[in-house]
């Protein structure tokens, strides 16, 4: 588990060890060693606790000529989209959004392309409020 706190001018990150529940309405989150005071949130900051549970909005594994069009995805508890070992992936008019009242649209990579070939084409798309980036990459 990790948490992220954004104050507008500072983004803090810390791994969390052993959260505790001293009472029914209090969540105590001790942070790992090495975190400085400047990295810690202050009163009235928003703290987003994230679990990397690998729930992917749409997963594409070993596919060829994959077309995603006219799609809106909200609030994914993991990566928004992942394409792995795939060839030729096309996004057209795809949106990854957060609904009102939610802080994040995804709590991991907005999208992640790993080990892909051919071409990746992203046109007329909108992504917002993701915990991590849009990554067309290879490893």
């Amino acid at each position: 588990m990790t948490f992220w706190a954004g104050t507008g001018t500072n983004i803090a990150y810390a791994p969390v060890a052993y959260p505790g529940y001293p009472s029914s309405d209090v969540l105590r989150i001790p942070v790992a060693s090495g975190i400085t005071a400047a990295q810690l949130p202050t009163v009235q900051d928003t703290v987003v606790v994230t679990l990397f549970v690998s729930r992917i909005g749409i997963f594409m594994g070993k596919v060829t000529n994959m077309y995603l069009t006219n799609l809106v995805v909200y609030n994914v508890p993991g990566m928004g989209f992942q394409a792995a070992n795939s060839t030729n992936v096309y996004f057209n008019n795809i949106q990854l959004l957060k609904k009102p009242g939610q802080y994040m649209s995804s709590v991991s990579d907005a999208s992640h392309f790993a080990g892909c070939h051919g071409e990746i084409v992203i046109e007329d798309c909108l992504f917002e409020g993701n915990l991590f980036s849009f990554l067309p990459e290879t490893i």
């Binding site: 001018t9 071409e119 798309c125 917002e128 993701n130 991590f132 980036s133 849009f134 990459e137 290879t138």
Partner: protein, 461 residues
């Protein structure tokens, strides 16, 4: 991947994914027959000395045995780094990423076009081309990158850059040029965060053969542009505005910066008031702009573009600027237009019309939900396509909360921070190369910006 063993008798190398200074099993599982692998020495992994082709592979619990199509090149030894070089190309068009706690896009591949995109209010760089040898070792070096006509606004947390192309300076400051090659960066707006000690503009490191032209790059409190350990960097017709001579992070301005920096060419600059216009000699914004200019306001009753356009020739234009509201809230934006038009405000399309071949002037309203508050800045982009033989009409107006509708004045179309005092870019490096670059930037400030922007009240110091 790190090479664990070399068997010249079978032309086979044994590799394992390498992250955080240790070999990790299983990843990746996509070394396909025919894939190219680039091999570099462990100390300089981003400048490969050999390229090989995978013929087949077998996968063990913690390694891959990759048999090559030919003999193992001379010099390949255990400990070298093998990187996949058969990578997907990528095209991004009209792609918006906003309000991410992360990058806009983080790219680790080759043959990439980013065209007409918007990256706004992201906490990490709007665009980052990334490869590193510290944590994940998962980024291949990049080739053939074009970033054009793109807005990158208010991105990156303190000490980082809005556009970051390089090997992170805090990871591998000593890596030579050549990790990233053949980069074109043109027609872009890069506006760093106005918050104190926030990000800087463009960071370019370990790059070779770079062209930056017709960009507006500004950072109110930090560098507009830093390049480190790069070669063949050509700056043409850019506006660079920056407000601070010393870096706020050890990721920039380190002793590794500017060494080997050569071929800095600065030819001219453009004024930064009004609306930046790129005119094309076709109705679809295809190819390179025919010419660019600044329009103080968009208030044309008979617009006939200049350049070499013929009177009856179709044309299109992309306008872009930052719209700064005054002391009143703004409730709506409208255009009076005779041709097809699309208006984007903060990357949201608020006005659009279908393509048309007849000139029909009409008023188009874009209602803002929510309204634009007073004294705020917003990215405004307009795409206009003219196909008729009549002169074009276009009037851009806004409606204030009190109900008054006016043509948006020039004072609201002035890019923020243009009136900041300019200072030369100073490196903390002490090498002669460093000093020569600093002098070049100082000369640029005095000779070019000082002359051209003097009338705007912008001074070099």
């Amino acid at each position: 991947m790190r090479i664990l063993a070399v068997d010249t008798s079978s032309n086979t190398i044994q590799t394992s994914t390498y992250t955080r200074s240790s070999s990790n099993p299983v990843l990746p599982d996509h070394v396909n027959p025919g894939d190219l692998l680039e091999i570099g020495a462990y100390a300089t992994p981003f400048n490969p000395f050999a390229t090989v082709v995978a013929a087949s592979y077998t996968q063990g619990p913690t390694y891959f045995n990759i048999t090559l199509t030919g003999p193992i090149p001379a010099g390949v030894v255990v400990g070298d780094i093998a990187v996949p070089a058969t990578l997907p190309s990528a095209v991004f068009r009209n792609f918006t990423v906003r309000n991410n706690r992360a990058h806009g896009i983080l790219l680790k591949n080759r043959n990439v076009l980013v065209d007409g995109c918007t990256f706004i209010n992201n906490s990490s760089p709007g665009i980052e081309f990334y490869t590193e040898d510290n944590s994940y070792w998962e980024g291949s070096t990049t080739r053939n990158i074009t970033i054009q006509n793109t807005f990158i606004y208010n991105d990156a947390y303190p000490g980082r850059f809005s556009v970051d192309i390089g090997v992170p300076a805090d990871v591998s400051p000593g890596q030579p040029a050549g990790a990233h090659r053949n980069i074109i960066f043109r027609g872009n707006y890069v506006m760093s965060s106005p918050q104190p000690a926030k990000s800087a503009g463009v960071y370019l490191a370990q790059a070779t053969n770079v062209l930056l032209e017709n960009n507006f790059i500004t950072s109110p409190l930090n560098y507009a542009l830093v390049y480190c350990n790069s070669q063949g960097v050509n700056l043409t017709n850019n506006i660079l505005v920056w407000g601070k001579s010393e870096p706020t992070s050890n990721a920039i301005g380190t002793s590794g910066c500017f060494e080997n920096g050569t071929s800095l060419i600065i030819n001219a600059n453009l004024p930064c008031d009004g609306v930046y216009a790129q005119f094309y000699d076709n109705p679809g914004l295809t190819g390179d702009p025919l010419f660019t200019e600044r329009n103080p306001v968009l208030n044309f009753t008979a617009l006939v573009p200049g350049g070499s356009l013929q009177p009856d020739q179709p044309w299109s234009v992309r306008w872009g600027t930052v719209l700064v509201t005054g002391s009143e809230n703004v409730t709506g934006v409208s255009v009076y237009a005779s041709d097809s038009i699309q208006v984007y405000l903060d990357s949201v399309q608020i006005i659009t019309t279908p393509p048309q071949t007849q000139s029909v002037a009409r008023e188009l309203q874009g209602i803002l939900v929510p309204m634009m508050p007073a004294n705020t800045s917003h990215v405004l982009r307009i795409i206009y396509s003219h196909t008729s033989t009549e002169p074009a009409e276009l009037i851009l107006s806004w409606t204030l909360e009190g109900g008054e509708t006016d043509v948006i004045p020039t004072t609201a179309l002035t890019t923020p921070f243009c009136n900041l005092p300019l200072v030369p870019l100073v490196s903390s490096a002490t090498s002669s190369a460093s000093r020569s670059v600093s002098l070049s930037m100082f000369a640029f400030c005095n000779r070019v910006l000082g002359l051209a922007l003097g009338s705007l009240g912008i001074k070099c110091r």
